[in-house]
Symmetry: C2
Subunit: 344 residues, 2 copies
DNA sequence: AAAAAAGAAGTAATCGTTTACACTGACTTG
DNA sequence: CAAGTCAGTGTAAACGATTACTTCTTTTTT
């Protein structure tokens, strides 16, 4: 039988008594604030070790007002893009001895607001957010509470907060140019909802690239950034535009949907259609042919996001930072490439 | 300029003053413990609403000893299997007004221990854990602290805690039998590390199924449950055993590695090799041919896990539960199937 | 109708820390 | 050498909730 009596939680008083000092001194040793005589410091430290004392964070939080805890709120935690970012965030926060509170807004504005409220209740030092909506009102309450927000991936354009994102326009533009250089003239684009900044910008990049070829007519179908939406958008696009010879898909889940559609229509990659996806996901190399993709530095993005947020927490008045990371095109075999003449 | 003066945090005292009652009464209304006169209750409620009062959780936690917070510690949060489970957990916890603290042990025993310690420091009401190691000592400290653990997916066999997992033996057995029924005699198996209970059990299921065919010789290669490991194991297996006509891969990331290997060796699916994977991941339907898989109810597994843990938290002395969920085989086209005679 | 029990609300102690303030003795300084 | 600093420590008051106890009122019981 396990003894259910709790073995008396060890508090700062126990440590103080054992070391023969006051609780104030113990606290000073722990937080190494002020200076404390070296002998005492050692006595306190050994007392802490011998007792296996661990400070109560709730009391610390209550008294000092400080928290070592940040909230991470994503629009879709099942999207492997966010998962990878999340892994980066987790890694950095853990090393900094911060706890990570996770929330999922499921692309739903109402849930997002509730989750933010929950973060405030729980008491977080800051929030990493991939926002669902482009309006700044949604975040007013958090900002008034003085909790810093770091916008990741999706950046509401009228919100003055730190942010980290990729150069979406350039990324889509480069991918499109790659297809143009391979000789494609009829390039389709499967985009996402306009309310999401990344979706809007990627479409812009596609359009910019297309402007360079004369008489080009953009062929765009918008999905919902999910697999089923990608499938449907691709079916629509391919049915309405038989002359399409290349396709750029603006996120990874929709790319999976596009693949389903392409296979269903028995169109061959890359011979009958060239395909470029977004995000270098684990499965990209397992496809036949392997997929050419716009690779985003997802893991690093997470690490940097966490670092930026902690910087902001420790330094609330420093100037706002908007970090943009570069993507790079990973050329595999889904565009053929090697057997076409790039200079034609 | 935003007024940086914090607008005086509203406490239970403010509410009490506004409603003309004592703080005790306010507390009673909030926690609707004891009975309180209906007039007062209403007065307090309206005061709360008008002031926009939200209780301070740190103070609540400190005084009452209760927490609405659970820790989730996974071995690999980048594995989409866990991601999906995580989404289920998140959904349930959020609805129950619990916060989710996330940790990633990265298949590393030392990190796992540190993360558990961090959970204890942070103060969680319970922990959902996919353990890295099969030894119960790793978890002694948590158990002694009286924090309930719920083992998910991987269940250390000498640890007496609630658990939820799938019937791994049966799952692998059914998948193998499917291949046998299709006429395959030389079926390879790509497994995972023996220290992981799921890996061990799936191998067992494979072996059990194989016993039914006379003169069968198991062909097994073990990987690390990651993509690169799956690739290498498959290369090894296919190189050493040219007669293999079917392959069962014991987890989703290794399946991606296996696909790379198979494509690299220019072996055709399903004509030259039949393939069955574990976990019905989004990309399974996007492959050509679509992949036959053992489908695990990942999302529900997460929801049930969260429910079981909260049950345990609210009812510490109820008997331990070991829940096993059934999988089902999703037959697609990666085993051919339709053009082979199952009765040959 | 007096005594006992129950019900409703308030008072103040408490949870485990940090920290403002007070105190001590030693060291500078003019 | 008196007075002013200063570094090092202790005392006790916070932080914002819950809750054991007390107090007062009302109801029940005999």
């Amino acid at each position: 039988m396990i003894n259910k009596e709790s073995p008396h939680k060890i508090t700062v008083h126990d440590v103080a008594k054992k070391a023969g000092v006051s609780t104030a001194t113990v606290s000073r040793v722990i937080n190494n604030s002020d200076t404390v005589n070296n002998d005492l410091r050692i006595r306190v430290q050994t007392a802490i070790n011998e007792l296996g004392y661990r400070p109560n964070r709730a009391a610390y939080h209550l008294r000092s007002g400080k928290v070592k805890r940040v909230g991470v709120l994503f629009a879709d935690i099942r999207n492997p893009f966010f998962t990878s970012v999340l892994a980066g965030i987790e890694n950095y926060l853990h090393q900094a001895d911060y706890a990570l509170i996770l929330g999922n807004s499921d692309e739903n504005q109402k849930i997002e607001r509730m989750q933010l409220q929950a973060f405030l209740d729980e008491g977080v030092a800051g929030i990493i957010l991939s926002s669902v909506v482009n309006s700044s009102e949604q975040y007013q309450q958090v900002i008034e509470a003085g909790i810093p927000i770091l916008a990741i991936d999706r950046v509401p354009d009228n919100l003055k907060v730190d942010s980290i994102s990729i150069n979406n326009i350039k990324a889509a533009k480069e991918a499109t140019e790659h297809l143009i250089n391979l000789g494609h003239k009829d390039i389709g684009f499967i985009g996402g909802p306009e309310r999401i900044s990344t979706a809007k910008l990627r479409k812009l990049g596609y359009l910019e690239a297309l402007e360079k070829i004369p008489n080009s007519k953009p062929t765009i179908e918008l999905g919902d950034f999910a697999q089923a939406g990608g499938y449907q958008a691709t079916i629509n696009l391919l049915s309405a535009h038989k002359d399409i010879s290349a396709l750029l898909v603006a996120n990874n889940l929709m790319t999976l949907g596009a693949l389903e559609a392409i296979h269903e229509k028995k169109i061959l990659i890359p011979d009958q259609i060239a395909l470029v996806g977004f995000d270098d996901m684990p499965w990209a190399t397992s496809l036949q042919p392997p997929l050419t993709v716009v690779s985003q530095p997802t893991y690093d993005m997470g690490k940097i996001a966490a670092r930026l947020l902690l910087d902001r927490i420790h330094n609330p008045d420093s100037p706002i930072q908007q970090v943009t990371l570069e993507t790079h095109l990973v050329v595999r075999e889904s565009c053929g490439g090697l057997n076409r003449d790039p200079f034609q």
